[in-house]
């Protein structure tokens, strides 16, 4: 039986202020923040990390929210669980792609306890919410005592299991703008077993012009195909300003494949994942396009 073998000092916070105070006190110590801990506890059990302090923010009920405003868009607090995002009626109505993504995250039990922001902070290269958040032009709010900064979703992860969040800081909120008219978004994840981390996942946002003929704007997010989730900017450039045909999609897929930098693993080779990114892009963009036409 695997247990956590190394002792740590447990520091629970009940408000954001308290959490930020604890973080500022311990910013030079070996600490970890725990929300749901669905990845952190496993990492500790597998002896991958052994922090001296655990700052528990699960009790921060002031950050357990999902709010929508017709002008400012969607805000997801740091303590909102995967499951609450999946089951939120307003998210289903306005950003259905997030619900579709959530249905593929781990299992119901994990989604019931794990948080969306915590998942992003764990920064697995294949983290599920990253690709759709990049496509949706989401931003993350990162706070420290007396300070706040906003980071675009594509800049949040900076390396393999590493984020922009510095000692003394914590991510507190995801902000997603209102979708422009004539916009469609879709996401697909490919994994060997449903709920596993993706071998590759792709999210595409397409905004059509007023006549719904040419692509006015495109955003592409990808997970699992580099050391962090990425935004495929060059492939977006291939789509922008064009009528989206199979030829255009094939060209975009080729460019997107080149933008990836996957590593080989036991489940798939780097070449496979590179191909996969392009293939998924073609499929996902087609659905996003259909949705944009109907929007």
């Amino acid at each position: 039986m695997k247990t956590i073998t190394t002792d740590f000092e447990y520091l629970p916070a009940t408000t954001l202020e308290e959490a930020l105070e604890l973080l500022s006190q311990h910013k030079d110590d070996e600490y970890r923040i725990i929300a749901g801990g669905q990845s952190l506890n496993t990492a500790m059990k597998h002896r991958l990390i052994a922090p001296e302090y655990i700052i528990d923010i699960k009790g921060l009920s002031d950050l357990d929210y999902i709010k929508f405003d017709a002008k400012r868009g969607l805000k997801i607090g740091a303590l909102a669980t995967h499951r609450s995002l999946e089951k939120s009626p307003i998210v289903r109505e306005k950003y259905s792609v997030l619900c579709e993504m959530e249905e593929n995250v781990a299992s119901v039990e994990t989604r019931n306890w794990g948080t969306v922001v915590g998942d992003l902070c764990n920064a697995d290269p294949a983290v599920d919410p990253a690709a759709p958040l990049i496509a949706l032009d989401a931003k993350l709010k990162v706070a420290s005592k007396g300070k706040e900064r906003i980071v675009p979703a594509e800049e949040f992860a900076v390396g393999f299991f590493e984020t922009t969040v510095q000692p003394g800081e914590m991510a507190t909120e995801i902000q997603i703008p209102v979708l422009p008219p004539n916009t469609g978004v879709y996401f697909t994840k490919y994994s060997q077993i449903h709920g596993d981390y993706a071998l590759g996942s792709v999210a595409v946002l397409i905004t059509l012009d007023k006549k719904k003929e040419t692509c006015a704007n495109a955003r592409i997010g990808m997970s699992g195909v580099a050391s962090t989730p990425i935004r495929a900017k060059k492939a977006e450039g291939v789509l922008k300003g064009k009528k989206i045909t199979d030829e255009v999609l094939a060209a975009a897929a080729k460019v997107a494949s080149e933008e990836t930098s996957p590593i080989s693993g036991i489940e798939a080779s780097a070449e496979y994942k590179r191909e996969l990114a392009g293939t998924l892009l073609k499929r996902v963009a087609k659905v996003a396009l259909e949705r944009a036409k109907k929007a």
Partner: protein, 185 residues
């Protein structure tokens, strides 16, 4: 440094002092001796350790026990009424929904959480809920059937409970109408 944990398990309140590194499954199995909650993969991948915390199915091997402080936990031992099995447990037996039985307690707890929230789930909804439960004897189809059967059993139990209550309501209404003298017919 040990910390205080107040927890309600299967309706009973407990108070412990535990090391913060203690996982919920350790409290359940080692401190309370409730060995019906099983551990297999120990990494959150198999769901054998599923229990219900405040109405939601969660994996007890992947949760720090202190995070459940002040909350209510239900384990497989909390379902039966004395020697009378819970309808979900009975449905699992009657539908041949397990072989070795190792994963069954986790499966039943997930099914309980689903049926508490959604009394009449479709086959697909059951699949989504049970998706994370690994059964190496692979009786998945029978598990799904058992849960649908359990839903029917629970619904008919519910209906049986409601019937006398509705009758009461009707007779009260009748009594009221009779008193006020309006529409006695």
């Amino acid at each position: 440094m040990k910390r205080e944990l107040n927890i309600v398990v299967n309706g009973e309140s407990y108070n412990f002092f535990i090391e913060p590194k203690t996982l919920l499954v350790q409290v359940i199995r080692e401190m309370l001796g409730l060995k019906g909650t099983h551990q297999a993969c120990d990494s959150g991948s198999c769901a054998a350790c599923t229990v219900i915390v405040d109405g939601k199915a969660v994996k007890s091997c992947s949760i720090l026990a202190l995070q459940v402080n002040g909350k209510e936990v239900t384990t497989i031992e909390g379902l039966a009424d004395g020697t009378k099995l819970h309808p979900i447990q009975q449905a699992f037996i009657d539908n041949w929904a397990f072989q070795c039985g190792f994963c069954t307690s986790g499966q039943i707890m997930a099914a309980k959480a689903l049926l508490d929230e959604n009394p009449d789930p479709t086959r697909e909804e059951i699949q989504v809920q049970m998706d994370g439960h690994i059964c190496r004897c692979t009786g998945y189809n029978m598990i799904n059937e058992a849960i649908r059967d359990a839903a029917k059993r629970l619904q008919s139990l519910d209906a049986a409970k409601k019937l006398p209550a509705q009758r009461n309501l009707k007779s009260q209404k009748w009594a009221q109408t009779a008193k006020s003298g309006k529409g006695a017919a």
